[in-house]
């Protein structure tokens, strides 16, 4: 069921931004219910790295500051730990709102730092190609692009993973790849924008 949308005669179309975020979120976001108490920001394990605490981000959304909200790094630092979700006194589906903001930021190319969007995209590419994740391919492609300097310190770990047979060098492909592709192609057409 779509969240209740109040169509008032507001002079500032940006105020619709909250409605848009809500409408694009899976489930019912309840974003309009936020009382700015800060439970989310207090709970967040990675808030120190964020431009804005989640609470502030919601205030930006409410204020209709679209660009500021979508270019915030906050959603990209969300680790999906769901602490804020279960603690939120207003039952806002915070983690899912973060996913929505990420996808909107990608669509409008408003993210400031490409590491995280690239990682997600690479991961998704692998899944769309093989139907399974492909860690070796993912890791090598991703690290070479974003953390070339980290490679040396990573090497022992990578070797360990390989020697302990915890990483396959070749990808696994599912049988129903055609079926999956057909489903995803149709799903992309259906994506409400």
């Amino acid at each position: 069921m779509a969240a209740q949308v109040f169509r008032s005669s507001d002079p500032n179309p940006n105020l619709r931004f909250l409605e848009e975020v809500s409408a694009r979120t899976a489930g019912v976001s309840r974003l309009e219910m936020c009382i700015q108490c800060g439970t989310c920001g207090g709970s967040c394990p990675s808030s120190v790295d964020m431009d804005h605490t989640p609470r502030m981000l919601f205030a930006l959304i409410r204020a209709g500051l679209r660009e500021a909200a979508l270019s915030s790094n906050t959603p990209w630092y969300c680790v999906s730990c769901y602490h804020c979700v279960v603690r939120c006194p207003q039952d806002v589906h915070i983690a899912d709102v973060m996913y929505t903001l990420k996808s909107m930021a990608i669509q409008e190319k408003l993210y400031k730092e490409a590491t995280a969007p690239d990682f997600s995209q690479t991961f998704v590419d692998m899944v769309e190609t093989y139907g399974r994740s492909y860690e070796f391919g993912l890791a090598t492609r991703h690290y070479l692009k974003h953390f070339p300097l980290r490679m040396p310190s990573m090497a022992p770990m990578g070797l360990g993973m390989l020697s302990k047979k915890r990483m396959d060098i070749t990808p696994t492909r599912i049988e129903g790849m055609d079926q999956l592709k057909a489903i995803l192609t149709r799903a992309k057409e259906l994506e409400v924008v």
Binding site: C37, G38, G41, G42, S43, S47, T53, R87, P89
Partner: protein, 677 residues
Amino acid sequence: MKKQTEIEGKERIGVYVCHCGTNIAGIVDVEDVAAWAEKELGDRGVVITRDYKFMCSSLGQELIEKDIKEQGLTRVVVAACSPHLHEATFRKACENAGLNRYLCELVSIREQVSWVHTDKVAATAKAKAVVAGGVERVIHHEPLEALHVPIHPATMVVGGGIAGIQAAIEIADAGFPVYLVEREPSIGGHMAQFDKTFPTLDCAACILTPKMVTAGTHPNIKIFSYSEVTNVDGYVGNFTVTIRKKARYVNEELCTGCGICQEKCPAKVIDDIYEAGLGYRKGAYIPFPQAVPKFPVIDKANCVFFERGTCKACQKFCPTNAIDFDQEDEYVTVEVGNIILATGYDLFDPRQISQYGYGRLANVFTSMEFERLSNAAGPTNGEIVLRDGVTKPTSVGIIHCVGSRDRNYNNYCSVICCMQSLKFAHLVHERTGATVYNFYIDMRTAYKEYDEFYQRVLEEGTLFVRGKVAEVTDAARLSIEEGKLIIQVEDTLAGVQRRIPVDMVVLSAAMIPRHDAHDVAHLFGISCSANGWFIEKHPKLDPVATMTEGIFIAGCVQGPKDIPSSVAQGAAASARVLGRIQQGEIALEPVRATVDQSICSGCRICNNLCPFNAILFHEDRMVSEINAALCQGCGTCIAACPAGAITGTGFSNEQIFAQIEGLMRVNFQHEKMTELA
């Protein structure tokens, strides 16, 4: 099987259409409505129609009175504002002219027509329909008399907290008997547990105990302590209430309250009630020194004699031989005319919010625990110390809204927590000099002297952090956090997450309805809101009455509130009761259901539809009957009776059917045709 309108109109009906200045006349063509009614409803018995600027004015009323007298009207329809405003006015006018007051019908063409519609033609059409509905309905009105019920002069007050004590004393002072029933061994309620009261900081005991003593010694007050109400029969004016006096194992006639039994008793148990679990009491105990009544109670579950069969230390030492191990629960029945429920609240158990660590982290306290900790008569003699009983905290965090304003627990505001937390901050400062933090979502200090108190606490240097605390943990990340409780919170004004190490955390826990609120509501035939608070008759205009006549509520049982409000409600409830008693009887609206016993076949469909237990079933005659004094007139049984054996005054089937017919007499097509013509 005949259509209603075929029944001949024998009544002489007057129709009065009010302009209400331009409130109605601005949208509704009132002259047209009146003219239409005269012409189209003549066959229904309308003999006179008038429109007038202000029907409710004395001139307007006189108009009606004159017509009744001169034109011999037998029914009156007034089309004006909502019946909730002026129904009584026009009924009175009818009565003045010698017409039974219930032969008048007021239909709303202001709130429900002129104020909500903009199209004048459609609004006028609707006004005609509404008038026609009223005319059809009023034909079926019957002359009725208000029901008069005598009021027993005695009153029962349930709950001996401050609200109940206040109510009892007010009524007793006016010279009428009161039964005050209290579940615990002593009256006093939660207030007896507090040390100081905000915002004046006067000592709770100093202002409460004189009132307790007054109640205890008042010739018009009979206290049933350690007692509970088990049954309520009857109705307003004539309740019969059964009280269970739990066995104290102490003969109240002989006991002097000397306290030797308590002293000698070898059993020591945690006192979960008065000491909020933070202190101990004996198996034979007087809950606190100023208890009223002064008689001790032997707690059977924790008595060595009852457990093992030997001991009887109390009996051996009792100087007046008052200990009676053979005592049994006693049931007492009393007659009262009115009942005031002041059963109070429970404290939210913060163990449910596991991230605050209460019950797991030793130095997390509830607000009630802190009250006992700071109370000079408490387990630490007023020393504010950590759970180890000795260490003074150097920093204390006070968390607001614990279990309040949170959809996961209770979505209402508990009203008192802000002020209570400010009081705690002040007490910590005063007694320990520790650094105090208050964590709040919104600071709510409405009412007299409250915000001034906030200013004072700010001045004292309490640190305020605006943010709902995310978690309290003992998992240190930095060395300065080691051994401390860390309060993790977003300081929403600074926009950063903070981790604040403290020694002690106090949780301002929510006020919640008593655990057995629903049972109590059911026992007294009143209703609870979804949250469990008792529902008042009107949230603004009738805050201490309930939908059940003769049952009043006062204090936190109606919703979270502070001491001044509780006292005010106790006094207000007693004023309502005293008014009743002094009148000697009460007139009830004659909207009631009755069973035609010649049609009733005793199918018993209606029997459990009545929440007021007004429907009795006569096994011998196999018929149901409605007790008119208990009936509140909702009409549910009338609608449910499969045989059509139940009828209701004021809202009978005939009246409603006729009104529907009248309402449907005008449709938009008609209106358009007349417009064209």
